[in-house]
């Protein structure tokens, strides 16, 4: 139970922090809980997609060519996991009648990402023990959220636009950004060399700072702007 709490708490704290900064208070807890659960469930299909890339293409983490290894991390976990998170958001948030502000998109995306990361962490706990769980909870849970948050923000902007091509461009831009940053993080962690690995931590730190800087600048006038459009 304690370990479950350790796996859960950083993610919950992050979403709570983001929700608390919302003015007016952000999304309903029930919706966020549902997104969190769906994000956790989405970890399964994401792993199947990763496995399919490893099995049916030359891209896999033990490939002799560096390009193939990098390709695996970018197009495997990087793309697949973000596609699956986007699919959850598209299934739940996108068709909703209620308006969606960029900041609401941010909180929803963070909930999905954190649910995904927490379930992943629980499996790592089983295999690698508590020390790994603690490290992953502090690093990987925020990392997943930081990759997906820009996607959620852009989804909020996309909902506010009129033309379908603008919506499409914003959604695609969000997905590409999330997949590239996620893939880059995995590549840095997979390459040999302590300093290269540390660059991954630096990447997460920089992304976290960038998101902190952007938080007050992300529009929050959620229900009104779209409803009045």
């Amino acid at each position: 139970m304690l370990l479950f709490a350790i796996a859960l708490s950083p993610g919950v704290a992050l979403v709570w922090f983001l929700r608390a900064r919302a003015q007016p208070p952000g999304e309903r807890l029930l919706l966020l809980g549902a997104l969190f659960l769906l994000g956790g469930l989405a970890a399964g299909p994401a792993l199947v997609l990763n496995h399919a890339i490893e099995k049916y293409t030359v891209l896999w983490p033990g490939a002799s060519l560096l390009a193939h290894r990098i390709g695996f991390w970018m197009l495997g976990p990087g793309l697949n996991e973000e596609v699956i998170k986007l699919a959850v958001l598209l299934a739940v948030i996108w068709p909703r009648r209620a308006p969606l502000s960029p900041y609401q998109g941010l909180i929803c995306a963070a909930s999905v990402a954190v649910g995904f990361a927490v379930v992943e962490n629980l499996f790592y706990l089983e295999r690698f023990g508590t020390a790994t769980l603690l490290t992953r909870s502090l690093l990987t849970v925020p990392a997943h959220a930081f990759f997906t948050i820009p996607l959620g923000v852009l989804m909020g902007y996309a909902r506010g636009t009129e033309r379908s091509r603008d919506k499409f461009a914003l959604l695609l831009g969000g997905l590409v950004f999330a997949a590239v940053t996620h893939g880059l993080y995995d590549v840095l962690l997979s390459l040999p060399g302590m300093w290269v690995n540390r660059m991954a931590y630096l990447q997460i730190l920089l992304m976290g700072l960038a998101i902190l800087w952007a938080l007050p600048r992300i529009p929050q006038d959620a229900p009104v702007s779209e409803a009045a459009a």
Binding site: T57, P61, W94, E120, P223, A227
Partner: protein, 397 residues
């Protein structure tokens, strides 16, 4: 002309919206939100613009879906895996379900990736579920004797080994079976291992027991001759193959795959021998003895160039002497069992012996190869080159 009811709803919505704004300015977030929600509920957007907006949303989502599908199509088309690799994963003898076969990539787990895949998750969950179904006495962590036969527990207690915090993950039947095999007491080893298989619920433990059982059968049928070559009791080889088959259903280890390939070679099923050897090499490319077996299989099938490639690969890696000796002895057994029908076996012995530094053996076999009528002059040219490259002074008695 707008509908009058629509106008009324619109004005009420506007009132709530403005009231919400006032609350927002007074930092009464909850009340502001409630007003805005009410405004959203009351406001009935013009049907046409509402439909247009919903349609644009649907269009964008569909376009994104198509784009993602195209991206995946491009990935699988631009970076396809060698179809032969996938072919070797399919086997008529494979009785596993589709999901287990899907999980099998034929690739070893990279040592340093640190990323768990679906295969790891699946085995982890299966182990956990089986552990939960295990009888209570075997799971009781407070009882250090859990799962240990009473007689062993008595012995342990007598010698002071049974204390708190003892580790009882050790499979005593596996240890006993392997020990008895080493001592040459194969029948006893088989009996112990079979009993262990019947009594264990743990799939991984059962896999290890099956592997040990296969080894016991194989060595029971292995008869070393005075000339240093071996003869095999094929009935024992068949039993060993069955046991390896069971072990592979549980855990497809590279060494078990390689051994299974060797069993099939001895039984004369060369297609299966090739398939298992290739699967083993895909998982562990460094298993030179498996590569030598594969070369032997190709040789028997008449695929001389493929066989040569395997032997050449082993030579370029400069393995230990034991590896060369194993390969040479297998080839000598082939020459013994099929006299006069495998001239290329002499050629392969020659190149292996030359690489190992046993020039007299190399010379003897290369000359025997040259004396045979074989199709294609180029192989003989290679043999002559190898002969010429050897330092003939070392061959003087």
């Amino acid at each position: 002309m707008p509908h009058p009811q629509h106008n009324q709803g619109e004005s009420q919505a506007r009132e709530h919206y403005l009231r919400g704004n006032r609350f927002f300015r007074q930092r009464a977030w909850g009340r502001a939100l409630a007003e805005w929600r009410q405004a959203t509920r009351l406001r009935q957007p013009a049907p046409a613009s509402h439909r247009r907006r919903r349609f644009a949303q649907l269009q964008a989502a569909l376009a994104l879906l198509v784009t993602v599908l195209v991206a995946y199509h491009v990935i699988y088309t631009v970076f396809p895996r060698d179809p032969f690799d996938l072919l070797t994963l399919r086997s008529e003898q494979d009785t596993r379900g589709w999901w287990e076969r899907f999980l099998e990539t034929g690739r070893p787990a990279p040592p340093s990736s640190g990323k768990l895949g679906i295969r790891d998750w699946w085995y982890q969950m299966r182990e956990r579920m089986l552990a939960e179904r295990r009888p209570e006495r075997q799971r009781d962590a407070n009882d250090p004797r859990g799962g240990i036969p009473e007689r062993w527990a008595d012995l342990m207690r007598r010698y002071g080994r049974l204390g708190p915090g003892g580790e009882w993950d050790l499979d005593l039947r596996l240890v006993s079976g392997n020990g008895l095999s080493r001592l040459g007491a194969f029948q006893q080893a088989v009996a112990v291992l079979q009993r262990g298989i019947a009594e264990t619920d743990d799939p991984l433990q059962r896999g290890d027991l099956y592997t040990a059982l296969a080894n016991a059968y194989y060595y029971q049928g292995y008869q070393l001759q005075p000339d240093g070559l071996a003869r095999y009791d094929l009935e024992m080889v068949r039993l060993a193959a069955d046991a390896y088959g069971h072990a592979l259903e549980i855990v497809p280890r590279a060494m078990s795959l390689g051994n299974m390939g060797w069993m099939h070679y001895l039984l004369g099923d060369y297609a299966a021998a090739e398939e298992f050897s290739r699967r083993a090499l895909m998982r562990a490319d460094h298993l030179e003895y498996v590569r030598l077996n594969l070369g032997l299989v190709y040789l028997v099938e008449g695929r001389i160039y493929d066989a040569f490639e395997q032997y050449r690969t082993v030579i370029t890696r400069q393995p230990e002497d034991e590896v060369y000796l194993g390969g040479i002895n297998d080839l000598r057994e082939l020459v013994r069992d099929q006299p006069g029908r495998q001239p290329f076996a002499h050629f392969m012995i020659g190149i292996l012996a030359a690489a190992q530094g046993d020039y007299s053996l190399a010379q003897r076999h290369l000359e025997r190869f040259l004396s045979h009528p074989v199709p294609g002059q180029s192989w003989k040219d290679v043999a002559r080159e190898v002969l010429a490259s050897m330092d003939t002074k070392d061959l003087e008695p």
